[in-house]
Amino acid sequence: MKAVFTRPESLTDKPFHFCPGCHHGVIHRLVAEAIDHYGVREKTIGAASVGCSVFLYDYFDIDVVESPHGRAPAVATGIKRANPDRFVLLYQGDGDLAAIGTAEIIHAANRGENLTVVFVNNTVYGMTGGQMAPTTLLGQPTTTSPYGREFGQDGYPIKMTEMLAQLEGVGYAARVAVDTPARLAKARKAVFQAFETQVEEKGMGFVEILATCPTNWGLPPLEAVKRVETEMIPYFPLGVYKERKGKDFL
């Protein structure tokens, strides 16, 4: 019998602790498939971030160092510079990457560090109970924007992929979603591309994945998945924003 649904080799058999309908689990699978596909499990060092994905090391059978909140791109820089032949993987949330760690991600990108960054944008601080993130949409209520995010008070949701795509050091930058099978297939391709960018030493491979947080959005899982299409994608357009063909740095 042909197995149609098997566990990627680089995932452990530990059941995910994520809430029902949370996209972190799906995204973990995509990343694990990429690790398997490129055969890099035995040379991967992950830099975990602080957020609901902090337990990365429980699910991936790879070496992992835990970074302070937002600092994973700096930690990863240290790893990669001292071990250029290793594969270095980052997995960061939107609070982690787009708020407290803005300086670290921009400068790691700008230095053209050969790193693969999986950026999970769920428009909230999931782990700490659903506070407003820099990516929270206008009008979206959170525990620290109870009347909905208002631009006069909180500014606009930040578009990291567009910003990073401007930087010469970024080899690949894309925004994807995993809310439908068709988009999931594109997301897989993008994650693979972000891996390939590092393998080919073309600078930073960056993929932003729009994700659900049903718990902190106060929505049942199915409605949360719908919100990705109705509210998130219109503001955060999907697509490949940068794809370097060769090592054509300026």
Binding site: R41, E42, K43, T44, I45, A47, A48, V54, Y57, F60, D61, I62, D63, V64, V65, E66, S67, P68, R71, A74, V75, A76, T77, G78, I79, K80, R81, A82, N83, R86, F87, A103, E104, I106, H107, R111
Partner: protein, 355 residues
């Protein structure tokens, strides 16, 4: 074994290379910029990497990353930059990652100034970051010691899997002295059972400080405490020159100890009996060695380039066995040997109330 005439900062940079450090991460700040300037020229030629980071926050986290893979690495800065590194230092201590941090102290609080100071004693020895941890703090007082103690810092960091700080200051960093650039024997530290390098032929491993399991964190903290206890027992370094019959002993470290030494010599030349205790490790602090002097009834005078920090450790070490007084100069005025001699003379004349 090259004999040169070198600036303190450059001695630190050269010692790092001699100790096999190939990776440096830093951000410019006076008065330590000679260190990154030197290493940016040299590290590429020894197959290493120099990264000028976007901030001290980033530099210390780069050190965490490189250290987690078992590679010898270093960062350096001066006081305001060291404040920014505290988060990362706490993570390194918690996840037991070795690494060397150099603080060429300037003056604070705030932007303060660039004059030499010992105002970061508390920050260094008490742990400026969060949580119950300690780091090695080594206090050179000559250009040669800038070199020697930097080499030692790498060994201690590797041996005990924790950060080690070299605590110098603007005076030591900027001055030139003869330097013996000895080449240390490469020591082998087995990092095979913890360093990250990819899970080749083994399950993935973690370098982490998050422990949420029942009782796990308490156990982790007790294990760290046991390591710190062992260090207090084995790794104290101090220069004690307190012959029998001393009427007073000065306690001073780093550049304050240099100035105090001239004052102590003058007092002895004039027929008085004054000793000098120079802590070389500020953590672990030479508690037992100072208590031994206090038990002999010798009054202690702590001399510092601040308004009174190490003196607290001197008092704790003395435990009331002999009187402890303090003389200090905050940044902006560097005391001369005569200034310190004046303080010694006042105490010998019985003119200073015991604190």
């Amino acid at each position: 074994m090259a004999k040169t005439f070198e600036k303190g900062n450059v001695a630190i940079a050269k010692a790092a290379v001699a100790a096999g450090c190939k990776y440096y991460f830093g951000y410019p700040i006076t008065p330590q910029s000679d260190i990154p300037e030197y290493l940016s020229g040299v590290l590429p030629s020894v197959g290493g990497q120099f990264v000028q980071a976007e901030s001290e926050v980033a530099s210390i986290n780069m050190l965490l990353g490189a250290g987690a893979t078992g590679k010898r690495a270093m960062t350096s800065s001066s006081s305001p930059g060291i404040s920014l590194k505290q988060e990362g230092i706490s993570y390194m201590a918690g996840s037991e990652v070795p690494g060397v941090i150099v603080n060429v102290q300037r003056s604070g609080p705030g932007l303060g100034g660039i004059a030499p100071s010992q105002g970061d004693y508390f920050q260094a020895t008490r742990g400026g970051g969060h949580g119950d941890y300690r780091i090695f703090v080594l206090a050179p007082s000559s250009v040669q010691e800038m070199y020697d103690l930097t080499v030692l810092a790498f060994d201690l960091a590797d041996q005990y899997r924790m950060p080690a700080m070299v605590l110098a200051d603007a005076m030591l960093g900027m001055m030139k002295e003869p330097l013996d650039e000895w080449v240390p024997e490469p020591k082998a530290f087995d990092k095979g059972d913890w360093a990250l390098g990819g899970a080749s032929g083994r399950p993935g491993r973690r370098v982490k400080s998050l422990f949420l399991g029942d009782g796990e964190l308490a156990e982790h903290n007790w294990r760290l405490a046991e390591k710190y206890r062992e260090i207090r027992e084995k790794a104290v370094r101090v220069d004690v020159q307190v012959p029998d019959g001393c009427e007073l002993a000065v306690v001073a470290f780093g550049s304050a100890a240099r100035i105090a030494k001239s004052a102590v010599d003058r007092a002895n030349d004039e027929g008085r009996r004054v000793g000098l205790i120079r802590p070389i490790t500020l953590w672990p602090f030479p508690t037992a060695e100072i208590r031994e002097v206090a038990e002999r009834g010798v009054p202690l005078l702590a001399v510092e380039l601040n308004t009174g920090q190490m003196v607290e450790d001197v008092r704790l070490s003395s435990e009331g066995r002999s009187p402890v007084t303090f003389a200090g100069w905050p940044p902006g005025y560097l005391p001369s040997p005569d200034d310190v001699y004046g303080e010694i003379a006042r105490r010998l004349a019985g003119g200073e109330k015991v604190a």
